[in-house]
Each structure stands twice: as C-alpha cells, then as structure tokens.
Amino acid sequence: MSAQHPAGSLLDVRALCAWYGAAQILFGVELHVGRGEVVALMGRNGAGKSTTLKALMGMLDKRSGTLSFMGRDISRSSPHQVAQRGLGFVPEDRRIFTDLTVEENLEVGRQPARRWPDGSAAPSWTPRRLYALFPNLGEMPTRPGGRMSGGEQQMLTVARTLMGNPYLVLLDEPSEGVAPVIVEQMARMIVELKGEGVSILLSEQNMHFAELVSDRAYVLEKGQIRFAGAMAELAANDEVRRAYLSV
C-alpha cells in the first residue's frame, strides 16, 4: 500500500475486524489516509462507520487486524496511547465535559506540540488560535460546556481534539444533528484545517457535505468496504450510491 501512496502515508488499516460484545460489526475493513488528505467514510446508519473510528482508537473491547499509524503499529495500543501518537478523535455524540468551562475542556485535550518525521513542525494549536478558528468559542471561554448550544458544543468538541495537535483527526459524523448554518461552518472549518496541514478521516452520511470537503471516499456496508476511490468518482457513480448510500 505504501508503495501506492509514497507521499507520506499516515494511516494504513488492513483486515480490521471489530466486535461489540459478541456481535461482530466489522469484517476486514481496509483503508488508507495519506498526509494532507481529507477522506470520507460513507455509509448508511449501522454500516459500521463509527465502529471503524472507535476501533482505530482502541475504544472497543475486541478488535483485530493490522493498524499502522505514522509507520508504527497501534493495533495493541490503548486509546490514550493512540491519542498520544497524534491520532485525534472527535466523537459523534460530542461528549463535552458539561461541568467544565470552554477553557477547561480545551485544557483536557492539550498535548505537547509535534514534529513531522522530517523535523518540520506539525500543525499545532493554542486556545487563541482555536478561538480565531471558532469565534463563537472565543466569546465564551468561561461558559460551562453544559450551557452551550448544540452547534457550539460541536465546535468545542473539535477544538478540544485539536488541542492535542493531532496529525490526523477522526471526525465522526460532523454534520449530524446540527442546524444547516452550523453544517456550513463545519464544512468551512474542515477546509481551513486542511489548509493548515491537518489530515482528516470523517464518517458521513450526507453526500453533499462529503463532496464539499473530501478528496477521496470509502463506502462501507455491513462492515465491509464496497467502494474506494476519488470523491468525484463516487459522485459520478450512481450505481454505488444507489446500492449503498441512498435511503
């Protein structure tokens, strides 16, 4: 695979299987994210998108397969080790610390700045830079997370993960359950992050949203990858979209 993607491979996943309790959800998922890419993981409800992201983080009881991140094996790492390697996770249900203020939420996510293997500085974030990216948050640094709107919480959960200065962010359903105006903001934010050199693997059901932001796409169904290719290719492929995406 790395031969196929010579330009700085970040994440290589092979034969990923994962289980919730006794139920197997993923059956040999293969995917890849290169440096600087935004990749969409598409699929209907229950296809295994969130499970894939959680399995990458090591947040499930049981998983198997080869997981390599920045050339290192993470298939046995616990979530905090994965996060410390620079793989950030933004959960679908946001999981804001509602008792903590915006500032404190960011503090929990804080990790030291990173460098790329070649020694150049990797994208790094401070509360100030994040407030510039999310002006709403900058207006309420001392507000408790529990007293924010859904859209504000969505921004906070992304900002909190960025405080860990990740090389790659796993973004679970960023457009779900937020107002259309927030969806637009999220799309703009993803494009801006890409401009800053952050790579993103996002799970998404909304074709329109994915098209706006992604370079490539995978389509998941019943825990297996059914399509892999450029975003434009997926947009043009009515057959795949009808079979695995349309509701």
Partner: protein, 632 residues
C-alpha cells in the same frame, strides 16, 4: 444562660467532629467520582491514619515532631493507597461494581489484621497536641483549643482541595474524568496514573482525618467499619462526587448528633424520648429522609449510567438433566449426612450453619442477581426473623412451631415497609438506603433493652422438644431450606420472575410493555425479606440465643460476599458461595488468630481469578466444553 452555653459547646463539639468526617468523606467522594469504585477500605485508611500517626509521633517526639508525624502518617497512608490501587484495583476496573466492593472489603479484612499484628488489640490514645493542649473560655465554659483548631481545619482543607480541583491541570483532568473517563483517555490522558493519583489523594485525606483525631479518640480496630458507615452516609447525603455537599452533610449530621446529646432525655407529651440514644441512628435517619426526598443527595445530580458497562447478563437457564442429577445426588447425600458422620457430631452443627447461610444468601441473590437490587442491609430481615421468633417465644409465650412461621412474617413485613422506600432508588443509592434501614433496625435491637435484651440479646430460644436434638433440627433445617430455595428458584421462572428480570435489564422498556416496575421490585424485595427471615428464625433456634450481631452491617456483608463468591448471575451461586464461605470462615477461624486476613486474601484471590464467581466460573467451563463438542 447555662443551657445556652452547653448548647453552644455541643454545637462547637459537633463542628470539630464534622471536620474529620468531612476529610474521610471527601476522599471517598473523589475516589468514587473518578474511578466509580465505592471504596469499602476507606474507613481502614482512616484507622491506619490514627495508628501510623501514633507511632510517628512516638518516634519523632513532641513539638514540631508532632505535626511532622501527623503529616508523615497521612503521606504514608497515601502511598499505601497508591500501592493498593496499582496492585489490586487496577485489575478490576472493568469488573462489575459489586466485585469491586468485594475486593475493597477484602482489603478491610487484611488491613484490620495487619493493624492487629503491628499495633496489637489494645486501644492507643495519642498525646495532646503541643500548644493546643489547653482550653479557651467560651460563654464561661472551657472549650478545648484543639477542637477549635479542628473546626478551622475542615473548611481549610475544603478550600485547598477546591483550589487543587479548579486551578490545576490535575484538577481539571479529575473533574473531566468524573464525568466521562473514557473520553479523557481518548484525548491522550493516561487514566492509570490519574486513578492512582486520585486514590492516593483520597487515602491521604482519610488518613489525615484519622491522624487529626489522635489526641481526641483512641486508635482501635473497630474504627474502620464505624468510619466507613459514617462516611458513606455523608457522601450519599451530600451527593456522590460533590465536595461541598459532603461538607454540608458532615456538618448537618455532626450538629444533629450534638443537638441530640444536648437534648438528652426529654418528655414529649408524656412520652419519654432519649435523644442521646438517637445518636446511634441519627445519621442513618438523615440519610433515609434525604434519599427519599432527594434521591441523589443534597448537592448531587442524578448519575448517568457509566459509559463502559459490562457485558449484558446472560439469561438464566432451566437446568438440564445433568443439573437435575447433580441436585438429586446432592440432596440425597445431605439426607444421608447425619448417619454418615455420627462419630463427628460437629459436622451436623456446621451443616446447619451452612444450610441457614445458603437460604440467607439465596434470598439475597433473589433480589440482587435477577432483581438487580444490590441490598447492603439484608441482615435486617435475617435479624428481624431471628428477633421476631425469639421474642414471640420468650415474651409472647408462643410455641416454637408458631414462632417459626410468624418470625419470617415479621421480617416480611419489615421488608414491605423498608422496600417501599428502597425500590424508589437504584444502584449505589439503593445499596446505601438498605444499609441505613439495617443500621436503624440494629440500633433499635441494640438499645431496646426491655424487649430485645439490648447488647446481650436474648437467650433461651430453644426449639420444641421433638426438634431439640441436633439431628432432628438438622432435618427440619434441611427441609425448610430446600423448600425455600426451591420456591425462590421456581419464582424466577414464573411470569413474576420474568417481569423482575425484565425490570432489571431495562426498567423503561419493561414499563413500556405494561410491567409496574416499582411494584414488581417491591414484591421481590418483600419475598426476599420473608425468606431471609426464615433463615434468621432457623438460626435463632439453632443457637438458642440471638444478639444484635445478627442485624449488624458485618452480617449483611457476609451475605454479599457469599453471593458474590458464588456468582451473582448463577442460580447455584448463592448455595455454593454460602457453603464455601461458611466452611472457610469456620476452618480458618479455628486455625489462626489472623483469620480475617486469610479470609480477605482468599476473597481477593477469588475475585482476581474468578470474576464471575465460583459457580459462574464452573458454568463457563462447562459451556465452553459443550460449545467445543457442538462444533465437532
């Protein structure tokens, strides 16, 4: 004026007592918040605090050495806490919460015997604090200056811990982990060290609370359980995880106790009420009232269920032919036991104890496993059954046979009353409320000399003549225990049993399909109480006497240990657990002075090796074999 002065003196005294209580409760609350472990051993850390402070002060001398000694004691116990967390608790964070309780209870036993071994059984009173040995006049009364110092300590520590939690990265992480520890991990924080640090801090606070009591209270080996009881109450009343709540609750309880002491014996409308006797139960009364009115405590919030929960419970299964055969062989050998062991009469006596324990544990299992209600006060119904039968025979002059029928009914009625309150709560709160009711029942039995015989209990509770021999009584016990256990098992496979299990697995869904969840749980609670009462009545007549011990928290914990040892979700579990526990207790206690530590070590090993309990483990092995055969 004098009345006012003594009132103020009592209030100040209460404030001084509240400080140590708060320190212990604060540590307990912190640990629960982050690790979700209800640390039974927290009172043991308090006890260790006093003992270590005693030795440290003796070693470092008076003067500055005194204060250094107190600090050293707190730090040393904090380190003990860290070691305990790393060696034991770290392995069981994903185990069911009851297993964690069992493990921390094993630590209680081990620490108690370690203290016995190091410091002996004598009470040890520390020297007075240098510079604070005198007293200050307040409203014409001499008030110990050390107590004034203690009054200041409580709010000071509250302030320091608050600063630590709100102004440091460590504190931010602790508060975040209290809410969602899995997410904290996914953000790159190593939970392992966070948990260790919190546990060490909690142990340190408890030990500080103990060390500060050095000049006021002699170190003794009973402090662990009395302290943990009081600390549980404070944490639950204040609201799990809320430090200001814990402080308010500690103040409230300490002041109510002080007021009770001040009131002494008062005539109210011609009825003489001894308020000073109320001090034993006042904290549990407060807890019962608070939990009924505000089920999550004064400043607490309803707990979200933990994000990472264990695997769903496998459904209970009716036994197959093999199980039936094993049961038949077992019953036959039990019937044949007395003639077979005629040369060793003690075997039958021990067998009666085991059978009584089996029924007691089975009745607790009934609400705990299939019912999902973790009662920490099941001894209340055992004791009510025992006292009910004993009083009916002694005071009412009823024949033994009638008392054996009515005694369990007394327990059943008690369970109907206590259960009505208890089933309104769930989880840890239900556990604490049941504990509170049991403590109230214990205090009544302990103090109502004219009826219950007070701390001595009642003697001369013998069975009727035709049942008096060990062998006859053994067969009576065997018959009733088998019948009781069979009935309880039968009920689990009746529509009522299905409803109770449905209510455990999902109260909302059960409600939505027309099951009156609270009523089902209430009935289940009453049934369990009834059968625990039968075990209690049988116990009373087998011993010929009954003491408040049978209602005490230690008895409730015995039952919990039996059920957990056997396996909560296995029908044979309570029987296996009760037998093993009673036999171990008997064997170990006869062979060593340090039986508690041995028992604790055995429990700990069992918990670490067999997290599903003994019977659960056996069932797993059998199932695995069966599956392997099926594959072929």
């Amino acid at each position: 004026m004098d009345a006012l002065a003594s009132f103020v003196a009592q209030l100040l005294n209460g404030l001084a007592g509240a400080s140590s209580l708060f320190l212990v409760a604060a540590g307990l609350s912190l640990i629960f918040g982050v690790t979700r472990i209800v640390n039974f051993a927290h009172g043991s850390f308090y006890m260790l605090g006093i003992y270590v402070a005693y030795s440290a002060v003796a070693w470092l001398g008076r003067g500055v050495g005194y204060w250094l000694g107190l600090a050293l004691a707190a730090i040393a116990v904090g380190i003990v806490g860290a070691v305990v967390e790393m060696v034991v608790l770290r392995r069981i964070y994903r185990a069911p919460e009851l297993f964690q309780l069992l493990a921390t209870f094993a630590l209680v036993l081990i620490i108690k015997d370690a203290a016995l071994w190091i410091w002996g059984a004598e009470e040890l009173l520390g020297p007075r604090a240098p510079g604070l040995g005198g007293s200050l006049p307040i409203l014409g009364r001499a008030f110990p200056s050390y107590d004034l110092f203690l009054i200041v300590i409580g709010p000071t520590v509250l302030g320091l811990v608050w600063l630590l939690l709100t102004r440091t990265r460590f504190g931010t992480l602790v508060r975040a982990a209290t809410q969602d520890r899995e997410m904290v991990g996914a953000l790159g924080v190593n939970q392992a060290w966070l948990f260790t640090a919190v546990f060490a801090l909690g142990a340190l606070l408890a030990a500080l609370g103990g060390a500060l009591q050095l000049p006021r209270e002699p170190a003794n080996l009973e402090l662990d359980l009395t302290t943990i009881g009081a600390a549980f109450v404070v944490v639950v009343v204040g609201g799990m995880g809320s430090l200001p709540g814990a402080y308010i609750a500690a103040l409230l309880i300490a002041e109510l106790k002080a007021i009770c002491i001040w009131l002494g014996v008062v005539d109210v409308f011609g009825v003489t009420i001894s308020f000073s006797k109320l001090t034993l139960v006042v904290e549990f009364l407060v807890m019962a009232v608070v939990l009924v009115v505000r089920p999550w405590g004064l400043l607490g919030r309803p707990q979200a269920p933990p994000r990472v929960s264990g695997a769903a419970e496998a459904p209970l299964r009716l036994g197959d032919n093999l199980t039936t055969a094993v049961a038949a062989v077992l019953v036959l050998s039990l019937v044949a036991l007395p003639p077979m062991t005629a040369s060793q009469p003690y075997v039958a006596v021990l067998a009666i104890d085991i059978l009584v324990a089996v029924l007691f544990a089975t009745s607790l299992h009934f609400i705990m496993g299939p019912g999902g209600m973790h009662s920490f006060g099941h001894a209340a119904y055992f004791g009510l059954g025992a006292y009910g039968a004993a009083i009916l025979v002694r005071a009412a002059g009823l024949p033994m046979e009638a008392a054996l029928v009515l005694g369990p009914l007394v327990a059943g009625i008690g369970a109907v009353v206590f259960g009505w309150f208890s089933v309104r709560l769930t989880g840890v709160y239900l556990a604490m409320l049941t504990l509170a009711f049991a403590q109230i029942a214990w205090a009544v039995a302990y103090q109502w000399d004219s009826v219950t015989g007070g701390s001595n209990g009642l003697t001369g509770v013998w069975p009727a003549a035709w049942l008096a021999g060990t062998r006859a009584y053994y067969y009576l016990t065997l018959t009733l225990v088998l019948a009781g256990a069979w009935l309880l098992r039968r009920m689990l496979f009746s529509p009522f049993g299905y409803a109770m299990r449905a209510a455990r697995d999902s109260a909302l869904r059960a409600d939505a399909i027309g099951i009156d969840v609270k009523r089902v749980q209430w009935v289940g609670f009453a049934i369990a109480g009834l059968f625990a009462g039968l075990a209690g009545s049988l116990f009373a007549f087998s011993k010929g006497s009954i003491s408040p011990e049978s209602l005490y928290v230690g008895k409730s914990i015995d039952a919990l240990v039996m059920v957990l040892l056997g396996g909560v979700q296995t029908l044979a579990g309570p029987a296996v657990g009760a037998s093993v526990f009673t036999w171990l207790h008997d064997t170990v206690a006869r062979n060593t002075e340090y039986w508690r530590a041995m028992l604790g070590a055995i429990i700990l090993i069992l918990v670490l090796l067999f997290p599903q309990g003994i019977a659960g483990f056996v069932q797993q092995v059998v199932d695995a074999r069966r599956d392997a055969k099926g594959d072929r």
